[in-house]
Amino acid sequence: MKHHNCAQSCQGSCECGLCCTKIKNFGVTRSGTEILRDVNLHIHCGDLTAIIGPNGAGKSTLLKAILGEIPHTGELQFLDAKDKGTIRPSMGYVPQKLDLDSSSPTSVLDLFAAAHTKLPIWFTYPKKIRERVRESLARTQGEHLINKRLGALSGGELQRVLLALSLDPIPHILLLDEPVSGIDQKGLELFYKTVSILRENYDLSIILVSHDLNLVAEYADRVAFVNNKTIECVGTPQEVFSNEKVIQTFGLDWSKRNLRVEKDRVANALLV
């Protein structure tokens, strides 16, 4: 197999004239243990960048560092397309799960109202909030869920609700932590399709921690492979999935199958 050299290729400034996000020399150390070091990543707006890697490699830690939830070294730069200056980017975040039991009396409307209003939601809601929430939910095909309890939603429905919440207001950077379990394949595909459409409509920079390599291969523009505490390889899905370290980590079977799918796709394209 041909060895692709996927060192961080897209370094330097944003010559393309679009807005972009640069993660420079990120490092995270917690209670004396180094979790991440020398993480460099460059993300263009409108790109979906998937972060893959073995369990415990530091993918979720990277997301939390970008969010600013845990302290890190290095810096996060966001360059706006218009004024070319660096601003503090706003972040949308879709967590893997919510910490609540299935009997919790928190409705979807409660969740949005708590995020959007200052008035305590146990006292009253502002009049306009219901309309705003409905509009938000419409972006992810979830209008009908507004009065449901969060605990009564299926895994896929909850993801779409959380996605709608993260997009109100529209952030500069959208961070997605894909659930490891609890969502059926169909729900996951719907989720990816929605994300894909939203990215084009709103020119979002999306960073996605993913465990489903098939969907990554289909929907991601760029893939970053996190291993041994750092990003070992960045590139297009084809480049990264033919990297030897990646193949070793995820097993040869998957890679072969992926290449076969790719070949089929190329063959189909030729036929058309």
């Binding site: 209670s31 997301l63 939390k64 969010l67 600013g68 939830e69 972040m91 949308g92 975040y93 967590p95 799960k97 919510l98 910490d99 609540l100 009997s103 919790s104 009396p105 928190t106 409705s107 409307l109 409660d110 969740l111 109202a113 708590a114 995020a115 209003t117 200052k118 008035l119 305590p120 939601i121 146990w122 006292f123 009253t124 809601y125 009065n147 309890r149 959380l162 919440l165 993260s166 961070l175």
Partner: protein
């Protein structure tokens, strides 16, 4: 206070409300139980029942410290100690060395043992046993003033922090992404809890204080479908249990706090059956 006394005489001309101590106790119940119903919702949401229990237990050491220092009204030493132990629990919890349950258990039993050891020197523990079951009928006018101030402060604080606290309790990273200082709100919440538990312990009693926090919210949770219902039912159940518990304990000559808890427990049983039937 005169206004309250004449108001009660005018509106509620019942025999049991003739005594001033019953009027005081009624006002106390009307001030304390809504707060318990309100705070209880978040305590049940966050699975902090054990924590509120340990706050109650640690009050014993607070009393003991008050005795050693020589303060007449131990409420200040109790407040001081419960805030101290809350901070200690939060700090140890953040170090992430053991499960929260274990940490709270360690602190709670240590504080209780220390309190008992100090108070039982020379075999004099019995005079403090009033703190174990509480005495709502001993509530005085100056206590009611303190309680009134605490009532207003807690309601205002709760109104300001609730939405952010709810988000933080569901997912800290999500709250963080919306610019919420998760730690600040967690600290505020636990401090409010510490203050309200400590203030009311002499009237409700160490042994049952946490049930009074948990039961109304747990009952409401059985039937509520959103946050507003959750709070409204919880406060209503707390109020009804409080007032009817006070009346029943007067006629039965029983401890007021425990009677209130028993009535809340009945509410829990009823709402639980409603939940089973409604599905």
């Amino acid at each position: 206070m005169h206004f309250w006394y004449s108001l009660v005489d005018l509106l509620l001309p019942f025999g049991w409300l003739q005594h001033a101590f019953m009027k005081n106790a009624l006002l106390g119940v009307l001030l304390v139980t809504p707060i318990f119903g309100l705070l209880g919702t978040m305590i049940v949401n966050n699975k902090m029942a054990f924590f509120s229990d340990s706050l109650g237990h640690s009050a014993l050491t607070g009393i003991a410290i008050g005795v050693i220092v020589g303060i007449k009204n131990p409420i200040w030493s109790m407040l001081f100690f419960s805030v101290l132990i809350t901070i200690a629990i939060l700090i140890v919890k953040e170090a992430n060395t053991a499960s929260t349950d274990t940490i709270i258990g360690v602190f709670s039993s240590t504080a209780m043992a220390l309190g008992i050891v100090i108070l039982s020197r020379n075999g004099g523990f019995t005079k403090y046993s009033v703190y174990l079951i509480g005495d709502l009928l001993s509530i005085s006018s100056s206590d009611l003033l303190t309680l009134g101030i605490v009532f207003v402060v807690v309601i205002v604080l709760w109104a300001v922090i609730f939405n952010k606290l709810l988000l933080a309790s569901m997912n800290p990273s999500l709250a963080r992404s919306r610019g919420i200082n998760v730690r600040l709100y967690e600290y505020l919440f636990t401090m409010i809890m510490a203050v309200i538990v400590t203030i009311s312990i002499q009237w409700v009693g160490i042994l049952i204080i946490s049930s009074l926090l948990i039961l109304p919210a747990a009952s409401s949770r059985n039937i509520a479908r959103n946050m507003r219902q959750y709070h409204v039912y919880s406060v209503l159940i707390a109020l009804i249990s409080g007032v009817s518990g006070l009346v029943l304990s007067y006629f039965g000559g029983t401890a007021t706090g425990a009677t209130i808890v028993l009535i809340s427990a009945v509410f829990f049983a009823v709402t639980f059956c409603m939940k089973l039937r409604l599905g």
